[in-house]
């Protein structure tokens, strides 16, 4: 090796660059002149040529199965395309392929697991205990005797009916619990449920009308087992159904029409207690269905996201809203303080009410939500009050 010249390294770089054809024309002229005058540089250049030739003569290494490797890569590429919905190339994750692979594979399961955890927590918070039961809603308003599934106990002879229905016409579970109202409902804890149970027991203790079997409507709900199994509520038509974790109870309160504005005012002032206030005016069964398709929707409550079409009537008015256990207790307490409401609540007109419910439930969007099984998470014991205002 000719490395004795102290300037050789510099010259060596230049010679290498010359050998590699990386010099400018002027630099080439200088190097070529130096080569002509230096046997040492000529020898070095010859060594470079030999070395380069030797290396280039090395056998070319071939992949054992190149096409198979390409196919494997393409298969993985396609798999990634499927897994990320054709967005793999645009994923700006700057991580090695192998690391990205397991992270990407874990993304969907992680999201699912997280979602499942959230749903499980919500379900555990609101799911009824094993003693939950299903109440079969009776539907024979016109053909069967009046059904009293649940009695309010605010007066001497209450006819208030607690209609069990998990597809209430007030907008359904999901809709009724959307937004801040829904969050407030979801935040109700066991304490609020206990309040509702106590209220229900109290109401049942004062009930005086037996439950009459009637045509079932295939609408069921489960209420808290403690309340359902209470011997104080013999009117309940029980049917255990653990799949139904929703307990909706509708109270029907009848008020005189002249008291309706007062009631509405009361409800308005208690908007923190109720959600989805709807108001309907009905005449009868046929008119209700007809008017429901013709009249535009109108909402009483400002935050009523699941309002129902307003139906005009010359006779009755129905005001519906949703509440939950603790809210209902407060609201009922407020209603009971009003003697006019207390009196009128004893005169429930069941026929118009039942038909109205039937019509609305068929069109209720919440029914679909329930069929998807989402409401078992969103719903707890929910009470609705349906008020019939009579002239």
């Amino acid at each position: 090796m000719t490395d004795h010249n102290p300037n050789y390294e510099i010259d060596g770089e230049l010679l290498n660059a010359y050998f590699d054809d990386e010099l400018t024309a002027s630099e080439c002229v200088v190097v070529e002149q130096a080569i002509e005058n230096s046997p040492q540089l000529r020898e070095s250049l010859q060594e470079l040529k030999i070395l380069s030739k030797e290396i280039q003569c090395l056998s070319v290494e071939f992949h054992s199965n190149e096409q198979e490797m390409i196919d494997t890569v393409i298969t993985k590429v396609r798999d990634r395309n499927l897994s990320v919905h054709d967005q793999a190339p645009y994923c700006n994750v700057k991580i090695p392929v192998m690391a990205r692979g397991w992270k990407q594979r874990l993304q969907i399961p992680a999201l699912l697991a997280l979602t499942a955890c959230v749903l499980a927590v919500l379900t555990l918070q609101f799911i009824p205990n094993e003693q939950s039961m299903t109440l079969v809603q009776t539907d024979g308003i016109d053909t069967t005797p009046p059904v009293e599934n649940f009695h309010r106990a605010d007066n001497n002879a209450p006819e208030s009916e607690a209609i069990a229905d998990n597809r209430l016409p007030m907008g359904g579970m999901g809709g009724g619990r959307s937004g801040s109202a829904g969050e407030s409902l979801l935040s109700e804890n066991q304490e609020s449920r206990d309040k509702a149970i106590r209220q229900a027991k109290h109401a049942a203790a004062n009930a005086n009308e037996p439950v009459a079997p009637a045509q079932t409507r295939e609408r069921s709900f489960a209420i808290d087992g403690a309340m359902a199994e209470s011997e104080d509520i013999p009117q309940l038509n029980r049917q255990v159904d653990k799949n139904t974790a929703v307990a909706d109870v509708t109270y029907h309160i009848q008020v005189k029409q002249k008291d309706l504005p007062t009631l509405l005012g009361l409800l308005t002032t208690h908007q923190n207690l109720v959600q989805n206030i709807d108001r309907k005016e009905t005449v009868g069964i046929a008119d209700v269905e007809k008017d429901a398709a013709e009249e535009p929707q109108r909402r009483v409550s400002a935050n009523n996201s699941m309002a129902k079409p307003v139906q005009k009537s010359a006779v009755n008015q129905i005001v519906m809203f949703r509440s939950n256990a603790s809210q209902l207790a407060t609201l009922v307490g407020a209603l009971q303080k009003n003697p006019e409401f207390a009196l009128s609540m004893n005169h429930l007109q069941r026929s118009a009410l039942g038909k109205t419910l039937t019509t609305e439930i068929k069109d209720a969007p919440s029914a679909k939500v329930k069929n998807q099984g989402a409401t078992t998470i969103l719903s707890d014991t929910i009470f609705s009050i349906q008020v019939i205002a009579t002239p």
Partner: protein
């Protein structure tokens, strides 16, 4: 002076890859296959010389191609696609070398084999002698440091110019020149017996 006889990657690759790149970036696996197929042979050869282990080279190559697919959106077209692809592959190979130490590399095997053959070179034929020389060369290249080895391979085997090497290795052209010079010096020292046997120098 150019490295004659070297069929560099630049000379075998199509220049108009933009459409394929665009389609591949949009998720077309077929376009990606067409895009990488011209490069895989040479790329594997490069990885083999860097890693000197067939299994490792195959693994790295597969991952490099996948990585290239995932990073297609980062390719801006400022350099040739093969340069960009080689940069990914070479960097992955160098990272792989740093992370893993094969129990018995091909270099070690060939070095052992080569030593034995050199000791008994009078008994070998021409073909075996060629294999011996190749083994010695491989051993010498494998003994180079990582930065020198990759630069020698890219220059001598792949025929890349300085700018391409600079892009692939993310270094400057001046660094390429100096490193290449030092790498050749080290190779000359390791291959001195072999070079001295060459008729043009003897």
């Amino acid at each position: 002076m150019s490295p004659t006889g070297v069929k560099g990657i630049g000379s075998i690759l199509p220049n108009d890859n933009k459409e394929l790149i665009r389609q591949a970036a949009e998720g077309s696996s077929q376009a990606f296959e067409l895009l990488i197929t011209p490069y895989t042979g040479r790329l594997f050869n490069t990885l083999m010389h860097i890693l000197r282990c067939r299994e490792s080279a195959e693994d790295v190559m597969q991952n490099a191609l996948l990585q290239a697919y995932l990073k297609l959106d980062t390719y801006r077209g400022h350099s040739a696609f093969y340069t960009w692809l080689y940069r990914i592959a070479v960097n992955m190979a160098l990272s792989y070398r740093r992370a893993t130490k094969p129990a018995v590399s091909m270099d070690q095997q060939q070095e052992m084999t080569g030593q034995e053959v050199i000791d008994h070179n009078e008994a070998v034929g021409e073909a075996l002698e060629r294999e011996e020389r190749a083994a010695v060369l491989h051993a010498a290249i494998g003994a180079l440091s990582e930065q020198y080895r990759s630069i020698i391979i890219l220059r001598e085997i792949e025929g890349c110019n300085y700018d391409t090497i600079a892009e692939i290795l993310s270094i400057s052209s001046g660094t390429v020149r100096s490193r290449l010079h030092r790498a050749r010096l080290q190779l000359k020292e390791k291959l001195l017996p072999l070079l001295n046997e060459h008729p043009s120098l003897s």
